[in-house]
């Protein structure tokens, strides 16, 4: 029997551009054409002002570690302990992710550290935007 696996996201018409972007190695956000607010998660109107004309754009992929936990309990597809983090992107929105390729310890993970997106292919169909600590 197959091991229980990590949950896979399933796109909707409103979020398709985001997941297509991740597959293409781009972190795509949206910005309101009227009030210029950049926002996430995806939706075809501005959550700040309700305007329906918005533009998808490629974000820098840079941000900082806003907060996190180190989860010590079992989870399908994960080997504890592992971080579950929220990063704040340079453009303003925040998103949940995992900070990977570093020790999963409070010493290694300090709030406000700079992070950079890393697109990780978890199977043939799914790539996820994970983050690594920025160099330098």
């Amino acid at each position: 029997m197959a091991e229980p696996q990590r949950a896979r996201p399933k796109a909707t018409p409103e979020t398709r551009h985001f997941w297509d972007g991740v597959d293409a190695g781009e972190l795509r956000l949206q910005r309101c054409n009227k009030c210029a607010k950049a926002y996430f998660p995806p939706r075809p109107f501005c959550p700040g002002c309700g305007h329906r004309e918005v533009t998808v754009f490629k974000a820098s992929g840079r941000g900082f570690l806003y907060s996190y936990i180190i989860h010590h309990r079992p989870a399908p597809g994960f080997t504890p302990p592992y971080s579950i983090a929220v990063v704040e992107l340079e453009e303003g929105p925040r998103m949940m992710t995992n900070v990977v390729d570093c020790p999963q310890t409070p010493e290694a993970l300090q709030l406000d550290m700079k992070v950079q997106v890393k697109f990780e292919k978890i199977d043939d169909k799914t790539t996820l935007p994970l983050f690594v600590l920025a160099k330098g």
Partner: protein, 379 residues
């Protein structure tokens, strides 16, 4: 809403709390409801309004034999019951019904007849949180804590003291699940669940339920129980995704619901004799004290660590032992309400002498929602 127009005239928890393997979730609803009816001296046929969360009203109404003219199924997590009280008070005031039963039940530990709750992979939570390894509330609710601690200078020891103080209250409560005293060192040496929170800073997982009966304050005086009046109410929601809160330094839902209830009640913080802040995890009382305006967030950790909320302290908080030590079936709000009602009736195991005003503040989801009820025994 006008003050003191509606009162709680019946209140009870399930006969057994903790591990109840011989009852389904639906029967826990019924057990709590029948106990509350007995408490109020009513029969099921006297009930014409009904509210619950998770289960649909028709399920519980049919099981109990209720023919309602008003139902509410607000289901926003553990504070749903605070919001039911608010909605019920409004419904009674405008005459949609006269006698409301609110039930909660959850076979949280034994998992018997439990209504399934899942996250679809194409929901926003399913796309933008679930793939990062969130599972139980313990993997989500603590995510804001480190930011809060850094912003306000809260220490790990202060955060641990929340669990210590609540265990002290639980020690006075024969129905509490965990009663043995603990120290800050015990908390900080307990098993890590989701850094920075350890197991003694996470809620229990238990079976149980509770029910409330409300009617107009004018009718309430004819009941055998001491009326507990609804003085002020508030509610709000923010986001189902903890990652998308406006800020981790406070809860927007708390900051709307709490002050709304205080304004409606026309009271100030110094008038509060007794306080319940839903504590699914140890950081929630800190957020609650700050967001409800009792003190600046910078002072919340020190306030609890200094003993101000412990037995004999100036602001008795979570006097049943809370979700950390009393019980937590999954949606704890009903038990916080029950403790506020007991304190206002003068029947709590750890009774605050001469308490006249009790504030009961709830959270739903992971800071997703909030409801606040302010009770008084004075009209």
């Amino acid at each position: 809403m006008r003050r003191n127009q509606v009162a709680v005239v019946g209140a009870a928890e399930t006969t057994k709390l903790g591990v109840v393997p011989d009852m389904s979730q639906m029967q826990l609803h019924a057990d709590a409801a029948l106990n509350a009816l007995g408490d109020a001296g009513l029969t099921i046929k006297d009930i014409d309004g009904f509210a619950t969360a998770v289960e649909q009203p028709q399920q519980v109404c049919h099981y109990l034999g209720i023919t309602p003219t008003w139902v509410d199924n607000t289901s926003v997590g553990g504070c749903s019951f605070m919001i039911h009280v608010r909605h019920a008070a409004a419904a009674i005031e405008v005459g949609l019904c006269s006698t409301v039963l609110i039930t909660h039940a959850e076979s949280g530990k034994s998992n018997i007849g439990r209504t399934p709750r899942g996250i679809a992979p194409d929901s926003l939570n399913g796309q933008f949180e679930l793939p990062y390894g969130v599972t139980t509330p313990a993997s989500m609710f603590p995510i804001p804590v480190l930011r809060y601690m850094k912003t306000y200078g809260i220490t790990h020891e202060q955060l641990a003291s929340v669990a210590v103080v609540q265990r002290e209250w639980a020690g006075k409560n024969p129905r509490a699940t965990m009663k043995d005293p603990i120290t800050v060192a015990d908390v900080l040496n307990s098993r890590m669940i989701a850094y920075p929170l350890r197991i003694l800073q996470c809620c229990l997982v238990t079976d149980g339920g509770g029910a409330l009966i409300l009617t107009s304050a004018d009718r309430a005086k004819d009941f055998r129980t001491r009326p507990v009046y609804i003085l002020g109410t508030g509610e709000s929601v923010e986001t189902p995704m903890v990652s998308q809160m406006e800020t981790f330094n406070s809860s927007r839902a708390f900051k709307v619901a709490g002050p709304l209830a205080f304004r409606e009640a026309g009271i100030s913080h110094k008038d509060v004799d007794h306080l319940m802040i839903y504590d699914a995890f140890a950081h929630l009382p800190l957020y609650g004290l700050g967001d409800l305006g009792f003190m600046p967030h910078e002072e919340t950790g020190k306030f609890i660590a200094d003993g101000n909320t412990r037995p004999g302290g100036k602001l008795p908080l979570n006097t049943n032992g809370g979700g950390l030590s009393y019980m937590h079936s999954g949606m704890y709000g009903m038990y916080a309400l029950q403790e506020s009602v007991r304190q206002m009736r003068g029947t709590a195991p750890a009774q605050i002498s001469n308490a006249k005003i009790s504030v009961c503040h709830g959270v739903g989801g992971m800071f997703a929602a909030s409801g606040t009820i302010i009770f008084t025994n004075q009209r």
